[in-house]
């Protein structure tokens, strides 16, 4: 902790049980080189023990501490106070959108995890070489050298920022479609029915909000565009490799 202190007003969303939601204001004298999550944790430690928020790793590997900071989705453990406000400034802290609020800044992200399971998004991924590609398009072949935790930390920021998710709760959403893209339709042809559907890949309007807020180099928007390409190519493949009509197959078998 350095000697510098900024006066920052935290305006924090509050909701408990059936009570109406409101905002509480906390004035902190805080080191601008601490993170937004540190400020929220300080409010809990020293100002208001009833504040509920999620956090675990404090270094962007777990994805628990996603919140909206001045209206923008942030992984608060790696968001420096210095980068989002100024001395004398305000930080409005709200829960992620498009998920039900459990209490205060805590949302229930159960729907995201169910969908990630539905597309078989893997938590630990193989990498083929020490040099890490910035944006692997497909799963590497099986002669990988290392296993690595996947880039997507399932933090839900993209799901909160997506304008389509806001109006269509059943839309699979950026993280899920990115998970399907990484899995690859050629590897998992059964995913075609899930992503080439009403709530799938064609629903995206290319707003790129997901990519803008992703803290973990996943680039969901680019992956959704690539998944569309995969869908078209898988459809064409099916068109030209259609199984023979039943009667022909029977005739052939009797030949």
């Amino acid at each position: 902790m350095s000697a510098i202190r900024w006066d920052v007003t935290f305006v924090v969303y509050r909701a408990k049980g059936d009570e109406a939601s409101h905002f509480d204001t906390f004035k902190l004298s805080i080191d601008p080189d601490e993170y937004v999550l540190d400020g929220v944790e300080k409010i809990w430690a020293f100002e208001d023990r009833s504040l509920c928020f999620r956090h675990a790793c404090h270094h962007s590997t777990c994805g628990a501490c996603g919140m909206r900071v001045n209206g923008v989705e942030k992984l608060t453990c790696i968001t420096l106070i210095r980068d989002v406000t100024q001395d004398g400034g305000t930080l409005k802290i709200e829960p992620l959108r498009n998920f039900p609020v459990v209490s205060d800044l805590v949302v229930d992200m159960g729907s995201l995890y169910l969908r990630m399971d539905e597309v078989h998004a893997r938590p630990v991924v193989p990498v083929p070489e020490a040099e890490i590609e910035k944006s692997p398009k497909e799963w590497p072949p099986d002669d990988y050298e290392y296993l690595r935790l996947s880039d997507c930390i399932e933090c839900g920021l993209c799901m909160s920022a997506c304008p389509i998710s806001a109006t269509s709760p059943t839309y699979l959403g950026p993280a899920v479609l990115a998970g399907a893209q990484q899995n690859g339709l050629s590897r998992n042809p059964s995913l075609l029915e899930i992503v080439d559907a009403e709530n799938g890949v064609w629903r995206c309007h290319s707003a790129y909000e997901c990519t803008a807020v992703c803290p973990s180099y996943v680039d969901p928007a680019r992956r959704i565009m690539d998944l569309r390409r995969q869908v078209v190519s898988e459809r064409l493949k099916r068109l030209f490799n259609r199984p023979k009509p039943k009667i022909a197959a029977v005739q052939e078998a009797n030949r």
């Binding site: 902790m1 350095s2 408990k16 049980g17 009570e19 080191d31 080189d33 601490e34 993170y35 540190d38 944790e41 300080k42 809990w44 430690a45 020293f46 023990r49 009833s50 509920c52 928020f53 999620r54 956090h55 675990a56 790793c57 404090h58 270094h59 962007s60 590997t61 777990c62 994805g63 628990a64 453990c77 790696i78 459990v102 209490s103 205060d104 805590v106 229930d108 992200m109 159960g110 995890y113 169910l114 990630m116 399971d117 938590p123 630990v124 020490a130 890490i132 050298e145 290392y146 296993l147 690595r148 935790l149 996947s150 880039d151 930390i153 973990s216 180099y217």
Partner: protein, 388 residues
Amino acid sequence: MSKPHVVIIGAGFTGVATAHDLALRGCDVTVIERGDICNGTSGRTHGLLHSGGRYAVKDQESAIECIDENLILRKIVPQAIEPNGGLFIALNDSDLAYGEAFIEGCEACHIPIEQLTPAQTLKLEPNLNPQLLLAFLIPDGTFDPLRLALAFAATAKSNGARFRTFVEARRLLTDGSGNVTGVEVLDRAAGSPEELRADIVVNATGAWAGEIAKMAGGDVPVNPTPGVMVAYDQRFVQRAINRLNVPGDGDIIVPQRRMVVVGTTSFDVDNLDYVPVVDDQIQMMLERGSELVPGIRGAKMRGAFMATRPLIGGGSGRSMARTFKCYDHKETQGIDGFVTITGGKATTMRAMAETTADVVCSKLGISSPCVTREMQLLSYRQYYSTPN
């Protein structure tokens, strides 16, 4: 006959693993946690799946626990682990001299090691300090702290355990003789108080174990000892890197996703609920970390955080053992119905749970053996989809 009810305070590594073990042995388990899963020390670990090499010279009991449990976790929860190994590297004569004791220690603790020349080492990890003199390959690994804990919690839930997060222990309920009979809790999400009756209350609050034990008039010799960790925005190495020497500050580098995390330090603290990160310590991680991997000096810092270890027994900081201990407060202070587990490492979480469940089961007259060594854990995602 209804199942005995065990309330576990704390959903860090020890709490979730104990819930998993006790649910399998036929207990009705409720875990209460004042935040969400892993919001204390457990979440903030650097994520090093220890092979035991770090403790093989001075703390062999911990080293053996680590290697045994490392191999078990790789088997039962591969979905949370990067199993890529680790390297202990020597950069000077002092490190080389330590190498002799290291070889003997690892042999005594059955930790498999392989000695590598500098050329072999740099071929594996080109970003290491090219001045390195010697290295040992060792079965370290990296884990995702939250997903490791959630895998245990998901499995416990599927076997009937309940997880009540954002529920804080306010007071321990006692009978007239001071024995613990339950917990008065506050549901922080709803704002409502409640009394939970229990046949046994397990205090699995790690660094906070002393504070909870005090609620029962008990005492636990736990020394909360924070250390800093700094994450950098580039994955310089594929394996966990250790300095080949007596454990000290800033001598571990753990790769994770596209980052590396450099740790750590060791000091005393009063308020456990908020431990600020000190600039000097960040600077020290940069200096010491770049001795092992020079590229760190030019890397962008991604995050810095403090985690408070629950060390047990006498002494302080580095010299204290990393082993764990389960206290039956009936034996230590004559308080029945109350058991504390603390100390240990993330790597030994399953063993800590086994020891605790053994104590709890013997108090409850349950004879079923521990089966967690072989049992494959569910995906962390199932924690969210399994009903409570």
